[in-house]
């Protein structure tokens, strides 16, 4: 089985897994869910690092890669932090009153 075909199968299975998992998420958490998946898709940083860190990269590659690393890190950092900030607000019971 070629690399391409193998990748297609991985994609298909992951997409189905995604559908199943997301369907179980209560609408209560749809906003944090979106900011979490947003942060996860910042995994593109891997591609950006490979482009930027290469030995013989051209200046163009380095500049594009540098910008991409910056954008992806920005997304990952702000995405995880704001998701956690939102989730902290979800409380079941009334906070104790003084």
């Amino acid at each position: 089985m070629g690399q391409y075909e193998f990748d297609l199968w991985v994609f298909m299975l992951a997409a189905f897994l995604g559908f199943q998992l997301i369907r179980g998420v209560s609408p209560l958490l749809h906003t944090p869910l979106m900011s979490l998946t947003n942060a996860i898709s910042a995994i593109a940083v891997v591609g950006a690092i490979l482009i930027t860190g290469e030995k013989d990269a051209s200046l163009l590659s380095r500049l594009l890669g540098f910008t991409a690393v910056f954008l992806a890190v920005l997304n990952a950092v702000s995405g995880y932090l704001i998701t956690d900030r939102m989730l902290k607000m979800f409380k079941r019971k009334e906070p104790e009153k003084r």
Partner: protein
């Protein structure tokens, strides 16, 4: 021993597993924060593994980008008010999509320069990555502009718009196809990129503010799919998996949003919602009842069950904290208060829940539309704050209504309906709402925050007297 071949695949697989677990734990508020932590661990694993790869030798640029990205990301996460979360989300879709498109661009020029490596399967993935990346970048910026209200929220339409849009997309796809067949024709590349960028702008111009929840979810999906396509280019399964999870998540949320408005994807994207209503009939003056805050407070105090139906107008008026005070006071007086949340309340999926959670409303009091509707006839009072279309009975009764068939929260079934509203003017969407003229409806005129403050003051006085 070569670490790249032995250890790295394991690290990447563990990272992919972490992302899957992260989303799984988002199922419930009890485990959700654990999900964030495992997601962070996955990201750190993936980054650390990548930095150790033998082809990564030049670290200065990466390090500087990391420092800058972190420095910019932390304040965004902590300063952003919760009402602005939809804008931040749109902005972050723009960043993610642009990153993906830029990496694709660099890969493409590298391949052309080396004169090898751009097989047709790689080119297919690259073109999809860049097409989605570039169009999502500009589309998300447009969505950001509309949400931030620096751009007009009204849909902008002109004759033949759909043909223009389709033409631009077809041109971009055609040039993309040419590049797949003949990757060395690099002169075509800037044209391809520009057309994709242009299409993103054109796509959002005709979409109105009310449709933003669907659009944001759809753009989320595109940004994820773009990252997944990058995984095909780089032969990296972890990227494929993470991107596919993001892509399916956005897609499902977009479907949920469409269903909640009884509309199809194509209708959202090409229908220019909001145009129809400009011709809405100006109704003759019909009788309605109104009441003062004191009277409203008395009615609420006498109720056993109150269902509050908040809309985005409640958040605009910053009334959620006053609402929470009212919720507490009524709770102490033995009134059961619940909140009915329509799926499209707010400006992105789930937005209203976050806004109320921020005001310390316990999340078990936040109820979904489908759970609340059967109980609506037992509610003594339905209190509507800043919501309009989502409680409009016309959606069920008037087949000619622009929102016909849209599922609504059946506030009209409650014994008494109270609506806090500035005036009788039809709201943003301009659709007349028969609910306001029903015999059991009481209009409460005023700013939501000010009116709730008066109710709270009244209730507090009654509590003290008791």
């Amino acid at each position: 021993m070569n670490i790249d071949n032995t250890l790295l695949p394991v690290i990447y697989m563990l990272a992919a597993m972490s992302f899957i677990l992260a989303i799984k734990w988002m199922n419930s508020p009890a485990t959700a924060r654990r999900g964030v932590i495992i997601g962070e661990i996955g990201m750190i694993l993936a980054i650390a593994g990548t930095l150790l790869r033998f082809e990564v030798v030049n670290y200065q640029w990466i390090l500087v980008a990391f420092v800058l990205g972190t420095a910019a990301g932390i304040p965004i996460a902590y300063i952003m008010p919760m009402t602005a979360v939809p804008q931040r989300t749109a902005f972050s879709h723009a960043c993610g999509a642009l990153a993906s498109a830029l990496i694709g661009t660099a890969e493409y020029y590298k391949g052309v320069h080396l004169g090898s490596g751009l097989t047709s399967t790689t080119m297919i993935a690259l073109i999809i990555e860049m097409l989605l990346g570039f169009l999502t970048f500009t589309a998300s910026l447009m969505a950001f502009g509309k949400l931030q209200e620096v751009l007009p929220q009204r849909p902008i339409t002109y004759k033949g718009q759909n043909f223009v849009n389709l033409g631009v997309f077809a041109a971009a796809a055609g040039i993309g196809l040419t590049l797949i067949i003949a990757p060395e024709r690099a002169v075509l590349f800037p044209i391809f990129a520009s057309l994709a960028l242009l299409f993103g702008v054109l796509l959002i111009i005709p979409i109105g503010g009310a449709d933003m929840p669907t659009v944001i979810a759809l753009l989320n999906s595109y940004a994820g799919l773009s990252a997944s396509a990058m995984g095909f280019v780089l032969n990296n399964k972890m990227l494929i998996v993470a991107g596919a999870l993001d892509g399916s998540s956005g897609f499902i949320l977009a479907i949920i949003m469409c269903r909640a408005m009884n509309r199809s994807f194509s209708n959202v994207l090409f229908g220019a919602f909001g145009q129809l209503q400009t011709t809405a009939t100006t109704s003759e003056a019909r009788p309605y009842r109104s009441a003062s805050p004191e009277e409203a407070a008395q009615i609420l105090d006498a109720a056993r069950t109150v269902v509050v139906i908040p809309g985005y107008g409640m958040a605009v008026a910053q009334a959620q904290h006053k609402l929470k005070e009212m919720f507490e006071l009524l709770g102490k007086r033995g009134v059961n208060v619940e909140f009915a949340i329509h799926p499209v309340a707010g400006r992105m999926p789930g937005h209203m829940n976050v806004l109320l959670a921020e005001a310390d409303v316990p999340y078990d009091k936040l109820r979904e539309m489908d759970d609340v509707n059967p109980e609506m006839p037992n509610a003594d009072v339905a209190l509507i704050i800043g919501a309009n279309d989502v409680v409009n009975p016309g959606a069920e009764t008037d087949p000619k209504s622009p929102i016909a068939g849209m599922p609504i929260i059946q506030a009209y079934k409650a014994r008494t309906v109270m609506v806090i509203k500035r005036s009788m003017n039809p709201g943003f969407a301009g659709i007349d709402n028969d609910l306001y003229y029903m015999p059991n409806t009481i209009m409460l005129f005023g700013d939501a925050k000010a009116f709730l403050s008066s109710i709270v003051k009244e209730l507090a006085a009654v509590s003290r007297a008791a």
